[in-house]
């Protein structure tokens, strides 16, 4: 078993990965029983250098995709702008690759890793196939625990329900922990419109809230920002020193300004990592303990739950807990795994079960298994396209591989381009702890989108033309054969748009003297007298 994991680490690889912002690998600060450095929180994924901010180059933070209503997102355009900010791009790529390597080390430290993935995948498949039963069981158990249970068909209904709960209690302020579901629902935006103040308690999410930007990553929402960007945001919104980007200073400043809100908030909200049908309880996994603050401090607590978060029994939770943080950050477990079951004395607990397109997705033969997702972001961390484009380039709540396969279910036209923002290399599928065949679903989406004419007519026209030439040997040979030069046919195969996008960034291949076909005809056929 150990030899397999040894082979994963190419010799000398650690030394070669140099990021100017990354301190030396020999950080002695925290070590576990085996002497290995503990990597239990996102902050540990990338030791920060002590280089003062003033001495480092400043680079404005690239912003995300341009959103123009339902018009298809131009991910390539936004990615190009991200790449034009090399300090950001490099830090982003290396930080996420570091998480991928930590994931490998953690996963390969467990001999039964692949069995766990299979088990998790099957538990999810079973639950999703019997979702109605488990949802009813969950509701009954939660009610028996004294919880108020609500059902929301979509994001708008979720927002209205939460607003109504708050209104009934005269609540005006809400602290919440990070939840992708509430991002989906446009919750913060809605609540701002009805005069309710929301404070995000996850540090990364708080940064994004203060900067009025969406999260770019589902586990580390501000991973696309450098510390200098954060210093700039805090200086602008919290009045801190713009030149001090010391991570402890920044985190402390945020904490100092947020804590009073936590203590005085009228209501608290969390998302949900797992909802256990037999116990009616909600489980959250965090490293900052902020879900506990959000859930346990105010007298009114609300949990928003995507209906796909169900698992049947508490005993299955261990399978997912073992996979989740190892896949996400390479740590054995998150700092906090919190179970919320019923209201504390003198408080009220609400759970909102949200569909928002999930039951429709459950009916999609090729795509329903995307509902197994436990939002670990391993597929994003490993995705070479994501690491080089930034999560905001996708212009959607969900970026990266998982985004490519679920975003079109929310809006086919707007997200029709996203399944093409991939090389379909398959690494995402291999890291996915619940074994979603992500890259095959990307491939399947392309087919659906082409069949329904959601891809540009120009692109489809090119493919039709290419297909016509390739299906007729004579036409194909004529296309290449005129000067026996590949450059004749190159416009069709490689640069079939007039802008020569290949040659802008790469040297063109040289056209060989003759094709293989011509060589074969000259060298081999004349000997046998065979005619071509």
């Amino acid at each position: 078993m150990s030899s397999a994991s040894d082979e994963l680490r190419p010799r000398g690889a650690e030394e070669r990965l140099v990021n100017p912002e990354v301190a030396k690998a020999g950080d002695e600060s925290e070590r576990g029983q085996d002497g290995g450095r503990l990597a239990h929180a996102e902050g540990a994924s990338r030791p920060l250098s002590a280089e003062p901010a003033a001495r480092r180059e400043r680079e404005p933070q690239p912003r995300g995709a341009k959103i123009r209503g339902d018009r298809p997102i131009d991910q390539a355009e936004a990615a190009e702008r991200f790449l034009a900010a090399p300090l950001h791009q490099k830090a982003h790529d290396e930080r996420l690759w570091d998480l991928r390597k930590k994931r490998d080390a953690a996963a390969h430290g467990i001999p039964e890793w692949e069995e766990l993935r299979e088990l998790a995948s099957q538990i999810k498949a079973h639950t999703l196939s019997n979702l109605d039963t488990y949802l009813e069981q969950f509701e009954a158990a939660a009610k028996a625990n004294g919880v108020h249970v609500h059902w929301a068909a979509d994001g708008a209904e979720h927002n209205r329900i939460v607003h109504a709960i708050m209104r009934d209690h005269g609540a005006r302020t809400l602290i919440k922990s990070k939840s992708m579901l509430t991002e989906e629902c446009g919750f913060r935006h809605y609540m701002a419109g009805v005069g309710i103040e929301i404070i995000e308690t996850d540090l990364g999410e708080r940064i994004q809230q203060l900067d009025a930007e969406e999260p770019s990553h589902i586990v580390v929402p501000a991973v696309h920002k450098t510390r200098l960007d954060v210093a700039e945001v805090f200086a602008r919104t919290l009045g801190t020193d713009p030149d001090n980007d010391d991570v402890h200073y920044l985190a402390e400043s945020q904490r100092e300004t947020t804590r009073p809100h936590i203590l005085s908030a009228d209501a608290g909200m969390t998302g949900c990592n797992f909802a256990v049908a037999e116990t009616g309880s909600v489980v959250t996994c965090t490293n900052e303990g902020n879900a506990d603050l959000s859930g346990n401090v105010p007298k009114l607590q609300i949990h928003s739950i995507g209906i796909e978060k169900l698992i049947p029994r508490i005993e299955y939770l261990g399978v997912f807990i073992r996979l989740l943080s190892r896949s996400a950050l390479g740590s054995p477990i998150t700092q906090y795994t919190s179970h919320f079951r019923g209201p504390r004395a003198g408080t009220e607990m609400h759970m909102v079960l949200v569909d928002n397109g999930r039951s429709a997705r459950l009916g999609m033969e090729e795509f329903w298994t995307s509902l197994k997702c436990i939002r670990c972001a391993a597929c994003m961390n490993t995705c070479p396209v994501y690491r080089r484009s930034g999560g905001l380039s996708y212009g959607a709540t969900y970026a990266g591989p998982i985004g490519l396969i679920i975003d079109p279910t929310y809006n086919k036209r707007k997200y029709s381009t996203l399944p093409f923002s991939s090389t379909m290399n398959g690494s995402c599928t291999n890291v996915c702890p619940v074994k979603i065949n992500i890259h095959e679903q990307i491939f399947a989406w392309r087919k659906v989108l082409a069949e329904e004419h959601y891809i540009p007519a120009l692109k489809q026209g090119m493919m039709k033309a290419a297909g016509a030439v390739l299906a007729r040997p004579a036409a194909y040979r004529a296309a290449i054969g005129a000067a026996d030069s590949a450059l004749k046919v190159l416009p069709r195969f490689a640069v079939y748009n007039p802008l020569n996008t290949w040659g802008k960034k790469r040297e063109m291949p040289e056209a060989p003297r003759e094709t293989f076909h011509a060589w074969y005809k000259r060298e081999r056929l004349k000997k046998t007298g065979q005619d071509a």
Binding site: P419, R446, A532
Partner: protein
């Protein structure tokens, strides 16, 4: 054993030496190798773009050309992956199924079918970075990808290590995609090129003089990137190395 040689359109047009090396290499093992003259392409450019209907006639032509062979061999993991996994735009008759099942990528054909022990005519005394095409690696199972918890194996490295003098260097990101991705390289040129730049930088830092791969398409992309960056890396297909290219 009757072998049909499939020379993918990219190889035919841009890298004829790879086709020649593949043919000569197979003939060294005494195989009866034919090159069906009406072949063009496997259909991959269309299916990868979602255009299956547009690929159907090309797929049908592929099957017509390669019916009746014991094996179809191609020097491309990516095209073989297309044939094996995605040649589905036409009705799956027994004929179509037979061709799909009998189509092998060169390395796996040498490794699994011929079980070649030695390449005595070949010598390649150079530091080599091996590039795993993603379809070859994760699609048709050339090797154990770094994500998976299984004992390590690699068919291309097993085969390459039988060549005298070769030295394989270790990459920091051994199986990271190089960004070619077929039409991705054209429709997402900035990200594609950046992935290519990072790939050749990794190979260069590892001290490679040559990059060897079982797929010409990745090599063509990487070569274009290395030349643009002014890196003195050289790129060569595994068929050429195994056939005894002097380099």
């Amino acid at each position: 054993m009757r072998v049909g040689l499939f020379v993918p359109c990219y190889v035919d047009a841009f890298e004829p030496e790879v086709g020649i090396a593949t043919l000569e290499l197979l003939e060294r093992f005494g195989l009866d190798v034919s090159y069906p003259f009406d072949q063009t392409c496997c259909g991959q450019p269309m299916t990868n773009t979602g255009c299956h209907a547009e690929a159907a006639a090309t797929e049908a032509l592929f099957v017509k050309n390669f019916t009746g062979f014991d094996y179809v061999v191609a020097p491309s993991g990516s095209c073989v992956h297309q044939v094996r996994e995605h040649l589905t735009a036409i009705p799956q008759t027994p004929e179509v199924k037979a061709v799909r099942e009998r189509t092998f990528e060169l390395v796996e054909f040498l490794h699994d079918v011929l079980k070649v022990e030695a390449f005595p005519w070949a010598s390649f005394p150079h530091r080599v970075a091996y590039h795993a095409n993603c379809n070859a690696l994760r699609g048709i199972g050339h090797a154990r990808p770094s994500e998976i918890q299984k004992p390590f194996f690699s068919k291309p490295l097993d085969i390459l290590r039988k060549v005298e003098g070769i030295e394989i260097v270790d990459l920091a990101r051994p199986d990271e995609c190089c960004g070619f991705g077929g039409t991705f390289s054209v429709f997402e040129p900035a990200v594609s090129a950046k992935m290519g730049y990072d790939k050749v930088a990794d190979q260069s830092r590892a001290g490679a003089a040559y990059v060897v791969s079982a797929d010409s398409s990745c090599l063509m992309h990487q070569k274009g990137c290395a030349e643009r960056l002014g890196m003195p890396l050289k790129f060569i297909h595994i068929a050429q190395v195994l056939n005894g290219a002097a380099a």
